[in-house]
């Protein structure tokens, strides 16, 4: 069957002659790689920065010749309540925002009449455009006050649940209010990513479901959600990142205090970012290390949460769309 001699390309073979733009490929892929490297470097620097700055608080005996840190006996005592508060606030925000955000995304992609969908999408994006200071100011002046009667009601009727135990706040400056503000802030983030992904669901698959006699909701469950699974989780994580790291809004809305499960009492709970923002200006020496170490802990929370999310996504990799 074989009669052609050479198996190697001849000299000057058209195959090896570079067709315009071969260099472009190299440059482009290397640029892409470089971008990845830069991100890792920046992150490495952030991590190094955080760790070196927080060492005195993490091991006071070794790194600062002190027996204990400034605001508590041990660092754990100081930071664990803060971590609790941060996680609590973020969970409230996620629980409130995720269903609503996914709902709106669906509304835009599959429910709303076309004429309404576009402006609604735009208007939701607007929410993302509002600076967190403004959310903070809004939460402080408007939302907190209007939550007061709700807290009273929750306490009277659901007071047996630890979350609603304790004296209801008279000003509304509580963790629950902060959670609501955070929810409003992360809503557009989750919505707009989900919306983009929902829209990408292949029409072929949607039609396949409809043709089987699926109702709209069933079609969404059969095709849109599985297709968008990874994307939804991603966007929720992005929202969570924002909620965990949000500084100004919480700072303006919450009356901080010690950790407590009660969400409706003032002067309870605090979040790490607002703790940093509130105290950093006056912090000095050990106190400053403590605050940065608290930032490091937040970093670690994010790390763990994202590990879990990635794990969930990767479990179903082979059944995901695009191919």
């Amino acid at each position: 069957m074989t009669q052609t001699a050479s198996a190697e390309p001849k000299k000057g073979s058209a195959l090896k002659r570079s067709r315009g733009g071969a260099a472009g490929d190299k440059v482009f892929s290397n640029t892409a790689l470089a971008a990845g490297v830069i991100i890792l470097l920046v992150l490495a620097f952030v991590a190094i920065f955080l760790v070196t700055e927080s060492l005195p608080a993490l091991w006071p005996q070794v790194f600062s010749n002190q027996d204990s840190i400034a605001s508590a006996d041990t660092f754990g005592q100081y930071v664990l309540p803060l971590m609790g508060g941060t996680v609590l606030a973020s969970i409230i925000a996620l629980i409130l925002a995720t269903p609503v955000a996914v709902g709106i995304a669906l509304y835009i992609s599959h429910y709303a009449p076309r004429k309404i969908a576009t402006p609604v999408g735009y208007v939701i994006d607007l929410l993302a455009a509002i600076p967190s200071v403004v959310y903070g100011a809004w939460g402080m002046t408007f939302l907190a006050a209007s939550m007061v009667p709700i807290y009273g009601w929750l306490h009277n009727n659901l007071g047996f649940i630890p979350f609603f135990a304790g004296d209801p706040s008279t000003t509304g400056r509580t963790l629950l209010t902060s959670g609501v503000v955070l929810a409003v802030m992360i809503l557009p983030i989750i919505t707009s990513l989900c919306r983009e992904i929902f829209i990408q669901t292949p029409k072929l698959h949607e039609e396949a479901a409809l043709a089987l006699g699926a109702t709209r909701w069933e079609m969404i469950r059969m095709t849109v959600f599985p297709f968008a699974r990874a994307g939804i989780i991603s966007s929720v994580m992005l929202g969570l990142g924002r909620a965990l790291g949000e500084t100004m809004a919480v700072t303006l809305v919450l009356s901080p205090g010690v950790f407590s499960l009660s969400l409706i009492t003032s002067g309870r709970n605090a979040t790490i970012p607002s703790e940093i923002a509130l105290n950093f200006p006056e912090a000095f020496g050990m106190r400053q290390s403590e605050l940065i170490a608290a930032g490091l802990m937040l970093f670690i929370i994010t790390l763990v949460v994202n590990m879990i999310a990635r794990w969930i996504v990767s479990r179903h990799k082979e059944f995901s769309g695009a191919n």
Partner: protein, 259 residues
Amino acid sequence: MSKRIDARNLNVYYSKFLAVEDVNINIEPRSVTAFIGPSGCGKTTFLRTINRMHEVIPGAYAEGELLLDGDNIYAPGVDPVNVRAMVGMVFQRPNPFPTMSIRDNILAGHRLNGARMSRSEADDIVERSLRGSNLWNEVKDRLDRPGSGLSGGQQQRLCIARTIAVSPDVILMDEPCSALDPISTLAIEDLINDLKEEYTVVIVTHNMQQAARVADKTAFFNIAGTGKPGKLIEYDDTSTIFSNPANEETQNYISGRFG
């Protein structure tokens, strides 16, 4: 079960564009009807109006009446979901659900009805449907793998299996064999022959030999030019259409070299 289909003065639009004009056709139950015609003449479009899949496209709508055993599916208040449960459809392009396993793809229609079934019932349905679409042997060992890992032809057969699994009254097929090899095509044609014992089958095909082989009646659609609406030119027994068409256009189309 099986249903009669009657279209009356049906006009089909994409927004303002009239794609198919004034179709009147009676399709008998327990028969196979083939739609033939040049590309772009509106076969797919008309087929999709029969189970109200057409309106899924933004801006698309149909005017006129389409009766399923005398019930107008375009009457106000009719839920398209009901229509689609009665009128199954196989698409031109295979579209298995990529996130589901082969098994789940087949059972997708049943699961919708919330019908609870035993493992063995489900296995029964899966096997019967896959055998019906001549795919059983190829996939029986990997029922739990994703459906998207199959070859084009395998995927199309999977979609046919998925549609017949729910036993609709009418089955619409849009060029179901265009991606299939002769062996599978043969199996599908046999299947269609079996199906017509119980169902009304409507099939779009470009392969006139196929139409001649499987269809009891054949409808020829044509289009006068781009931008013009497609029209039903002639509808008659398959033998008449292929041997002795009444219309000159049909004659011309039929007598062209074809494959």
